[in-house]
């Protein structure tokens, strides 16, 4: 269950007590000590109440709920804060005495706070679920070694102030997209944003000739405009459209994730534009290049996993693939994998994917013999081994995957066609490739589309298909 520190502890109880005290204020103003609650904001948006009026309505409903559970507690709160009776009067009328009423009141406020918190949590979960449906399905089940990263990023994203731009940087396969996905989901429940957009920037394909930073920024604005439902009337000129996008993002705090910005020119061209659009909306970018520092960006560089986290990931992955001996292997044995892959999650997963067909000793010895220093060389070796461990059908399908657009993916019918596999062989081949982390499965439960990681495509085009070099 999500943790909401602002709905727990003394500060939360004190906020509820302040809200109760303001019930009878003759000129309470529009504000409320609870105006950070989604419950309050929802009532304000939907019913046109002021935050103060909305808070009173929520308190009133929760007092009714409390009455059904603890009539005495509800009565004390009602008389003290709704009617405005003194402690002495309530103590006298109820026969409890002033001191006892004071204790009942303290406990009742805690109960009331718990009731409001429960409603708030339920509403946040509902809202988060609705927003999550706008995100692409996650490509992971569990993340390892990212707790600190998640904490840091979450606090930056949830902050009502700067930073407005947050970049997650790191090498290919290090888990930038997964981390962005996880923190995005976590922050949705905090009610900080009313909308979330996930924009994936894919180089290549149509428009490749125009693959300039200017084009990237125009494409981003076009995608944002489309997500914001801008009609043609609001798209008269690029400047007018940009201005309209800005005002929509100002009106309604939105979290925009721009995934997979490949080139440093792209990011440096985009940042000033994003800064113009941000506040209170925020942008999260995943990129290989660190921003050049000319625009204020909170930059989090994602490094390799620690040994302990790598061990946990390998064991988890092995269990998921039914490789129980690897799952039960000693930390020292798994450390051998770590030594070779350097704690890169995609590389670790690919190696685990190899382990049910090949001897891990052979795989690791071969990788080690290659004296791999650079990440791309390491991937090259891992992909080579992954390739040889595949069934012929899976190989046939995988070698054809560069024909499928990385940005949109392809459906099963196209995959079957390009591989020329019979229907009964195509699905197991897809399944094998997905299990081995060589094929990415995207889309919804109603429509699945499949694509490959850019690193996989590079390997296939340079080594397997001979498209970018001599085929082996």
């Amino acid at each position: 269950m999500e943790s909401f520190p602002e709905l727990e502890g003394e500060a939360w109880g004190a906020a509820v007590q302040r809200a109760l005290r303001s019930w009878r204020k003759s000129s309470p103003g529009r504000e409320s000590p609870l105006d950070f609650l989604c419950l309050v904001r929802q009532l304000v948006d939907q019913s046109g109440l002021t935050p103060h009026q909305a808070t009173k309505r929520i308190l009133s409903e929760c007092l009714e709920e409390l009455e059904s559970q603890d009539a005495q507690a509800a009565e004390v709160l009602h008389r003290r804060f709704v009617k405005g009776d003194t402690l002495a009067k309530v103590g006298f009328d109820t026969g409890l005495g002033e001191f006892a009423v004071s204790r009942v009141q303290a406990a009742a406020i805690d109960q009331l706070a718990a009731c409001i918190a429960a409603r708030e949590r339920a509403l946040r979960r509902t809202m988060a679920r609705a927003l999550e449906s706008d995100l692409p399905p996650p490509s992971y089940e569990q993340l390892f070694g990212l707790d600190e990263a998640q904490n840091q990023l979450r606090s930056q994203i949830l902050s009502p102030h700067e930073p407005w731009l947050i970049a997650i940087t790191g090498i290919g396969g290090i888990g930038k997209t997964s981390l962005a996905d996880r923190v995005t989901r976590q922050t949705l429940a905090a009610c900080r944003f009313s909308r979330v957009f996930w924009l994936r920037m894919e180089p290549g394909g149509m428009g490749v000739a125009r693959g300039t930073p200017k084009f990237t920024s125009e494409k981003l604005l076009a995608d944002l405009g489309e997500r914001l439902g801008l009609g043609v009337a609001e798209r008269l000129t690029p400047a007018a459209r940009e201005s309209r996008i800005r005002s929509l993002l100002k009106e309604c705090p939105t979290l925009v994730v721009i995934d997979n910005l490949e080139e440093s020119e792209d990011i440096n061209e985009l940042l000033p534009k994003l800064r113009y659009l941000a506040d209170p909306s925020k942008f999260i970018l995943t990129t290989r290049s660190r921003p050049d520092g000319q625009t204020a960006v909170f930059s989090y560089t994602l490094g390799e996993l620690s040994l302990a986290d790598a061990v946990a990931l390998v064991r988890y992955q092995a269990r998921a693939l039914g490789q129980m001996s690897l799952a039960a292997a000693s930390a020292a044995d798994i450390e051998r994998i770590y030594t070779v892959t350097g704690g890169n999650p995609l590389a670790l997963k690919l190696v685990v994917g190899l382990a049910d067909r090949l001897s891990l000793t052979d795989v690791l010895d071969e990788l080690a013999r290659g004296q791999i220093n650079k990440t791309d060389q390491m991937y090259h070796h891992i992909y080579e081994r992954a390739w040889t461990a595949l069934s012929p059908d899976a190989q046939t399908l995988l070698q054809a995957m560069p024909l499928v657009s990385r940005s949109t993916g392809g459906d099963l019918a196209q995959l079957q066609a390009i591989s020329e596999l019979p229907a009964e062989a195509a699905l197991p081949a897809v399944d094998e490739l997905v299990r081995r982390n060589l094929l990415e499965s995207r889309g919804t439960i109603w429509e699945r589309r499949y694509g490959i990681h850019r690193l996989t495509e590079t390997f296939l085009n340079t080594v397997i298909t001979g498209w970018l070099g001599d085929a082996s």
Binding site: G205, M206, G207, A209, R210, E218, A222, G225, V232, A233, R235, L236, T237, P238, R241, T396, Q399, A400, P402, L403, V404, S405, S407, T408, G410, A413, Q414, A417, I418, S419, E420, I464, T465, G466, W467, L468, G469, D470, A471
Partner: protein
């Protein structure tokens, strides 16, 4: 590059797969495949790079033309078709001629008229070598459409008649006859022969109705409405525009929708419904025109919007739009419209009290319009701007 036989086989299988999908798709509503445009583009792109799959890739590119054209993906596909032309020229002259026609059409969409003309002329040479009468007629039609854009109406008319004759003699599909009538209707429209233009375009409308092709029918209705508009038959024009608009609402062709909004706005402007005119022009997606490199339509839209703002007494709002429009027409070397914009810009400047700048642009407008003595509308504009200049 040395692709493995297995990968080449996959390229081939991919091309066959998409060819089958295209064949099974409803030709009138090919836009249903629009979401697969990236995969289709990639299929052709890979296919053209390998000798053994070039023919399949070329065929797919040809069959995808409506999707590319309607979607406005002209900029992306021009390099693909250029590559296809280069590869098919020697191997298969018939396909080469077809590809050249499609490439010429994309050039024409981008207002690269000289290049369009070259492609259609090259296709005509091939057609004559092959003694293929139908292909000759198609070349005449396409050349006529380019000449029409170049305002060489006499030659465009000759080509239109030659195309019509060729299509008739070869018993071509009504689809081609409709296009020939369209060209002839447009030429007569330019000459100001309203009745003849309406006759031709009415035939076009009837043919598209018969062929149940909503997009082409909408385009034909739009052209017929334009003839009415230019002939000041405003009451006849409006229902035709609205019928075209209703048809276009159901099809995927942004540039035709923009074309219609420009015409509809012009109708409203001519009937002094200035707010309606402004609203129509503002509904046209200017950003789309910019993104897809449609400079000509962009310049026309800016001119019309600037003009209607000026008419509403907002010269300061009109001026920047007119300057942009003039810039675009000059880039395209479109002197007639450059003259029209320059004169309108002069009026906007004059209304703001900048008499010197206004005189400069009036003079420039007259200089441009003097180059079109045969055009009635050019003469009318020249006279109007000359009178305005004399009053400054």
């Amino acid at each position: 590059m040395n692709p493995t036989p297995r990968f080449v086989q996959s390229i081939q299988a991919n091309l066959r797969y998409w060819q089958q999908r295209i064949t099974l798709a409803d030709p009138v509503d090919i836009s249903k495949l629009d979401r697969e445009k990236e995969n289709l583009y990639q299929a052709v792109q890979f296919g053209l790079c390998v000798a053994s799959t070039q023919a399949l890739a070329t065929k797919l590119a040809l069959d995808l033309f409506d999707l590319v054209d309607q979607g406005g993906y002209w900029q992306d596909w021009i390099p693909i078709l250029e590559q296809a032309v280069h590869q098919t020229d020697v191997v298969n002259p018939l396909d080469a001629a077809k590809v050249r026609h499609r490439l010429g059409q994309l050039y024409r969409r981008q207002y690269r008229l000289d290049q369009a003309c070259q492609e259609h002329e090259a296709a005509l040479v091939i057609a004559r070598q092959l003694a293929d009468e139908f292909l000759i007629a198609e070349a005449c039609l396409n050349l006529g459409l380019v000449y029409n854009e170049q305002r060489n109406y006499a030659k465009a008319g000759e080509m239109g008649l030659a195309a019509l004759d060729g299509f008739t003699r070869t018993g071509a599909d009504p689809y081609w006859m409709a296009h020939a009538y369209t060209l002839l209707g447009l030429v007569e429209q330019a000459f100001g022969h309203w009745a003849t233009s309406q006759q031709y375009l009415a035939q076009t409308v009837a043919l598209w109705q018969e062929l149940v092709h909503p997009l082409e029918l909408a385009k034909a209705l739009l052209m017929l409405a334009n003839t009415c508009l230019y002939n000041r038959q405003y009451q006849e024009a409006e229902p035709l525009y609205l019928e075209a608009e209703a048809l276009l609402a159901g099809v995927h062709s942004e540039h035709d929708k923009i074309h219609l909004l420009i015409s509809l706005g012009t109708l409203y402007a001519n009937t002094r419904r200035l707010l309606d005119a402004e609203a129509a022009f503002r509904r046209a997606d200017l950003a789309y025109l910019e993104e897809t490199g449609q400079k000509y339509q962009l310049a026309v839209l800016l001119l019309n919007l600037g003009d209607v703002l000026l008419e509403q007494g907002k010269p300061e709002e009109a001026e920047p739009l007119l300057r942009l429009s003039l810039e675009r027409f000059l880039e395209l070397e479109e002197r007639f419209n450059a003259g029209n914009v320059a004169g309108t810009l002069a009026a906007a400047l004059f209304a703001q009290g900048d008499v010197a700048a206004a005189r400069h642009y009036y003079a420039q407008a007259i200089q441009f319009l003097d180059q079109f003595p045969e055009m009635a509308f050019a003469r009318h504009l020249r006279q109007k701007f000359a009178a305005a200049l004399s009053q400054t």
